[in-house]
């Protein structure tokens, strides 16, 4: 479904992504972890072209997303992206946040969009907050609305960029719960996260990144029980100590 072929990216002289060549299969739940500055966020942001690349190719559903004349907006409409900082639109209610894109992009009439948005908010447990503005919602609630908003476009892929890192600990669970049920429904997901419990329980595969390279990959069972690469061993040891 997603094919990365020798993807390279530079920030000035800094080599942020080094020759990444990997695949993500349909219905797969992939977790990307690693120390900060490893390039995990950069990598996930290249998938919906929030960041551009300096070399290599990225293909989604068999189409090169950097091809000349490629419709970036159509690409993004088919991929849901959940940000660390939620980025809900503060001047719109939760319901309106979820309705905006489907209506503006002519995917649904206003009535259909409203119905669908209510169903999604219900799915994330926030139907009773449909008329609330973001500043009246807790962090965990805002992030769940953000997930519903991304789902409203019926994407085939969902990308999560450290979705729980900005949350107080007691709210992390409610967001992970939503992500868990999404995975159970068979959504193709790529998650950058530090939540190792989630990775262990839900992920099909784990990529461990450091300094722009994927140093180790494998099933969660193998990765957590028997890490191979010295950096991965170090990383897990640090995590366990804390």
């Amino acid at each position: 479904m997603i094919v990365l072929d020798n993807v390279n990216k530079y920030y000035g002289d800094y080599h942020a992504l080094v020759g990444i060549t990997e695949r993500v299969e349909k219905n797969e739940v992939l977790v990307v972890c690693g120390p900060s500055g490893s390039g995990k966020s950069t990598l996930i942001r290249t998938l919906n072209r929030l960041e551009d690349i300096d070399g290599g190719h990225i293909a989604i559903d068999g189409r090169d997303i950097h091809a000349k004349g490629f419709d970036v907006n159509a690409l993004r409409a088919g991929i849901g992206f959940v940000f660390q900082q939620f980025n809900l639109f503060p001047h719109l209610t939760a319901l309106e946040n979820c309705m905006l894109a489907p209506v503006q992009l002519k995917r649904a009439s206003k009535a259909e969009a409203r119905e669908q948005a209510m169903a999604l908010l219900d799915q994330v447990g926030l139907a009773h907050k449909a008329g609330a503005y973001p500043d009246a919602l807790s962090g965990g609630q805002q992030q769940r609305v953000a997930i519903a908003r991304a789902l409203a476009m019926r994407p085939s892929i969902m990308l999560f960029d450290e979705p729980t890192s900005a949350l107080d600990p007691e709210m992390v669970g409610e967001v992970l719960q939503v992500m868990r049920s999404l995975a159970q429904q068979g959504m193709t997901m790529v998650c950058v996260t530090h939540e190792m419990g989630f990775a262990r329980d839900v992920a099909d595969r784990i990529w461990f990144m450091a300094e722009g390279k994927i140093l180790e990959k494998g099933a969660p069972g193998d990765f957590f029980a028997n890490p191979q690469h010295p950096r991965a061993i170090q990383f897990l040891a640090d995590r366990n100590r804390n």
Partner: protein, 230 residues
């Protein structure tokens, strides 16, 4: 002072109307309001152009803005007053001249307010709008500008205050705005200059101070609604 007000209050308020064109305080207020309203669409466009990533758009607009801000308003007023009739062939009234100049000036300052507001909006807002598949124009219309204008409202009210003060320059080209009328009254009465000009000052003060308090309260109200994750 009271008989002064009693005798001349109507003249102060509306000039020679209805026996002549509208003047006085009402003219000042109407001109300022009209100028700001007319300048909004232009200011919005210029502001968006200012933050455009295409330098062929942002640089000329930036140069124009800098140019207008480097020159006194009075000079622009003289240019328009002396040359517009020659260019258009139509003799423009002082009020129309003043209005045109005020619209140009207001749109430049409003452009700066809009541009600053767009730049101040967290990057994540535009990113999440684009991530949903909205194009730049849609993202501007539905996400960026509604927030920018809301946050910029106190600055816009302050711009109205500046415009009210700027209308006083119409005096110099003979526009019958409130300062001009005050001087006419002073010439008629002759011995009460201090009272006349204190009343003029007080009038401006009440109007402008009132509006800037409004702007201040708007700003306070905006700060009480924090937006998004810190």
């Amino acid at each position: 002072m009271l008989e002064l007000i009693d005798t001349y209050w109507l003249y102060f308020l509306v000039g020679q109307y209805p026996d002549g064109p509208l003047g006085g305080l009402v003219l000042t207020i109407l001109l300022s309001g009209a100028a700001l309203v007319l300048a909004m669409p232009l200011g919005l466009m210029l502001g968006i152009a200012r933050v455009s990533r295409r330098r062929v758009v942002s640089l000329p607009v930036g140069a124009f803005v800098q140019l207008v801000r480097a020159v006194p308003l009075l000079l622009v007023l003289f240019w328009v007053y002396f040359f517009l009739p020659a260019v258009t062939g139509v003799k423009t009234s002082q009020a129309m001249t003043m209005l045109i100049v005020l619209v140009v000036f207001d749109s430049v300052y409003l452009a700066e307010i809009v541009a600053a507001g767009i730049r101040a909006l967290p990057k994540g807002q535009l990113e999440s709008a684009r991530s949903l598949g909205l194009d730049y124009g849609q993202a501007l219309r539905h996400v960026v500008l509604p927030q920018t204008l809301r946050h910029g409202l106190p600055s816009i009210v302050n711009q109205l205050v500046s415009t009210i003060k700027a209308t006083s320059l119409g005096y110099i080209i003979g526009l019958s705005e409130v300062s001009f009328i005050a001087t006419q009254i002073n010439t008629l009465v002759f011995t009460r200059s201090v009272e006349v000009y204190l009343i003029l000052a007080l009038t401006y003060f009440l109007l402008c101070f009132g509006l800037s308090r409004l702007a201040f309260l708007l700003e306070r109200r905006l700060q009480r609604r924090p937006v998004g994750a810190s």
